[in-house]
């Protein structure tokens, strides 16, 4: 075992990249849940985004178009969920599970013929002056564009929820859909838009996995990251800033265990690979004592007749 082979600066830098997919998926799901909808299909939307983004990036040769494709793929799948839960008024838990099962099947169907291909590389932005700062440069300022897009998205979501009228309406719909309806807000429309946004974010996160993080396509490559993103929203008490903290924590755990594997720690690889899931359970246990923060209408079906 050689722990000195782990470079702390590279470790911190890779945490930034490792946390990006989960951050994207979680910030999208945060908006969905704040609108009062529980979408358990994050895993399915992520993996659909992963293959859509991958296929489009490979066929166009442009990772940027790939990312757009991934977002569209995720959003498209989420609209199925919206149709089920908002139009057909189906149970949200069951529909979310259906979305994940369907998405896993769809992605492996679409992914045939893309196994073993390398995607076009996503360029790193080497920000001139800032990137040359000794320690902070490599950690903060030498990533690809999507890392910053994710961070901007978190800041944007935080600001919109806190300061804008749109955020206020979204929260009203999530806290009490009957009251929001009585005030004349279109509950179903707001929720469908939130679901589509969540799907696009999850798709973007999935595309980041297949285009940058791994980077290749393998079946079932999300390996539970979508579910961890769901746990992250609970961890964050439905607050944007804490989603960022949580994503770094999980990114840190997964990078650290990969580094330990590479350093040849005397623990079998399988036990190290369990750690992100065990940490998720642990964090859920610690954070679940306070349920008061959850949107009051979360998971409840809205029908204007009532």
């Amino acid at each position: 075992m050689d722990l000195s082979s782990i470079n702390p600066i590279l470790l911190l830098a890779s945490i930034m990249a490792a946390s990006t997919p989960i951050l994207l998926a979680a910030i999208g799901e945060l908006i969905v849940e704040r609108s009062g909808v529980l979408n358990l299909g994050v895993e399915g939307m992520m993996i659909t985004g992963a293959i859509c983004g991958f296929a489009i990036a490979v066929s166009t040769g442009s990772p940027a178009i790939g990312f757009v494709g991934g977002a569209l793929g995720g959003a498209g799948l989420s609209l199925l969920f919206a149709a089920l839960t908002q139009v057909a008024l189906a149970n949200q838990v069951a529909s979310g599970l259906a979305l994940t099962l369907f998405g896993l099947g769809l992605s492996s169907l679409l992914g045939q013929g893309y196994v073993g291909i390398k995607p076009p590389p996503t360029p790193r932005l080497d920000i001139p002056v800032l990137g040359d700062i000794p320690v902070l440069g490599p950690i903060l300022f030498s990533h690809d564009l999507m890392v910053y897009v994710a961070l901007v998205l978190v800041a944007g979501v935080w600001a919109i929820l806190k300061y804008s009228r749109a955020g206020l309406i979204l929260r009203a719909v999530g806290e009490n859909h009957d009251a929001a309806h009585a005030l004349g807000y279109k509950v179903v429309r707001v929720r469908i838009m939130a679901i589509a946004f969540g799907g696009a974010c999850a798709g973007l996160g999935g595309a980041y996995l297949s285009l940058v993080r791994v980077p290749q396509w393998t079946e079932g490559m999300t390996a539970g990251i979508g579910w961890i993103a769901l746990a992250l929203v609970v961890f964050a008490s439905w607050k944007a800033g804490r989603v960022l903290l949580g994503a770094w924590l999980f990114g840190g755990v997964s990078v650290l265990q990969l580094n330990l594997q590479a350093a040849g720690v005397a623990i079998p690889v399988e036990y190290l690979s369990m750690s992100p899931y065990l940490i998720t359970i642990l964090v859920l246990v610690i954070m679940s004592a306070d349920k008061s923060r959850a949107p009051a209408s979360l998971g409840r079906i809205f029908h204007a007749s009532q």
Partner: protein
């Protein structure tokens, strides 16, 4: 003219039975379109999946497979349906299935090569206990800390998968296996082998267990106060509280029972059709069982039928893969679609479609 939904005062009894059938028909149509898009003859593909295993040329081989594949699905789905009825969402049956298989196999491997009759009953017990214990983790965490059982039970699937890999490569590896991963083949160890009770019928102990589970669940839900409490807390949680139902107890019962049944399914699989603990032992029965539970309307008899139907799609899918070159993923998607359409069609059970002239109320 505007189409809108009007809530029924009572769920329609007719649509409770009709909607699964309608969902199957729609899935066949859309699935056919999907197969056509993949360049296959849709009629031939659907016929291969649903007709060939039952009445085709090699039906004598495929019909027993129906029991082999259906039994674990039914066994798991029966357990899940209890929880789903009570609003306890165990979606980690895949993990409980793996742990049940590992526990059962551990007993068998510990006794190897001792040939006595006690080995198999002990394996059954170990399988059920293993699955039960894995299911109790989310139950107890929910009870003590209020954690969400959906997320915890699902996280434990990934943990169980890693444990399975660790076992197949480490402690349970066949010492005579010349370094290949995977345990001894239990089919070659008579005391532990879950063989067909009638040779070639596909009727192994897992099928018997599934049958018992269906009957037991039917009696429990229809005749026993616990079954009444399960139904009550799902349909009217507040009323259940006033009626003195203890939600914590139900959580423990539902997650424990479904865990034990999933564990049993895994144990019967590892000692019978699969034969050994290997890295790719689990094939997603725990997740497909969720579809089975809903398709069967969370009713024991319905689940038995739905389990057989789903087993049919597995077998037919394999035939279509061999004969028509239909990708395996297309079948997986086909199964996912079924749940989708079922949930969509289900709106008709609780709501009525109405055409109205007046503009929609804002």
């Amino acid at each position: 003219m505007k189409l809108h939904l009007e809530k029924r005062p009572q769920p329609s009894r007719r649509w409770v039975y009709l909607s699964p059938l309608l969902a199957v028909v729609i899935t066949m149509l859309v699935g056919g379109a999907l197969f056509a898009a993949l360049g296959k003859n849709p009629v031939e593909a659907i016929a291969t999946i649903f007709w060939e295993p039952l009445f085709g040329e090699f039906a004598f081989y495929y019909r027993p497979q129906l029991l082999v594949k259906g039994a674990p699905l039914i066994l798991i789905a029966i357990g899940l349906s209890l929880g789903f009825r009570a609003g306890v969402w165990n979606i980690g049956a895949e993990g409980q299935y793996i742990i049940g298989a590992l526990s059962g196999a551990a007993v068998a491997l510990a006794f190897y090569p001792l040939d006595t009759w006690v080995v198999f009953p002990l394996m059954v017990l170990a399988g059920a206990l293993g699955g039960w214990a894995w299911g109790m983790i989310p139950a107890l965490l929910k009870l003590r800390f209020g954690t969400n059982e959906i997320l915890v039970s699902l996280m434990l699937v990934y943990v169980a998968e890693q444990l399975l890999a660790a076992m197949a490569l480490g402690p349970m590896k066949n010492p005579d296996g010349m370094g290949f991963p995977g345990s001894r083949n239990l089919q070659e160890y008579p005391a532990a082998h879950n063989a067909d009770l009638i040779t070639g019928s596909g009727l192994h102990w897992g099928v018997v267990a599934a049958l018992i589970a269906v009957i037991a669940a039917y009696i429990l839900l229809g005749r026993h106060v616990l079954g009444y409490q399960i139904r009550l807390s799902g349909e009217a949680p507040r009323a259940a509280r006033f009626a003195g139902v203890r939600p914590g107890l139900l959580t423990v019962f539902c997650l424990g029972t479904s865990g034990a049944l999933a564990g049993l399914a895994g144990m019967f699989e590892v000692s019978g059709p699969a034969g050994q603990v290997s890295i790719d032992f689990n094939v997603g029965y725990g997740f497909t069982a969720i579809i089975v539970a809903f398709l069967g309307r969370l009713h024991p008899v319905g689940i038995a039928l739905a389990g057989l139907l789903m087993a049919l799609t597995y077998i037919g899918g394999e035939i279509a893969q061999g004969n028509l070159g239909l990708p395996a993923a297309a079948i997986q998607m086909f199964q996912g679609m079924l749940l989708f359409f079922l949930l969509a069609v289900d709106v008709l059970t609780n709501y009525r479609l109405r055409l109205s002239r007046r503009p929609e109320a804002v």
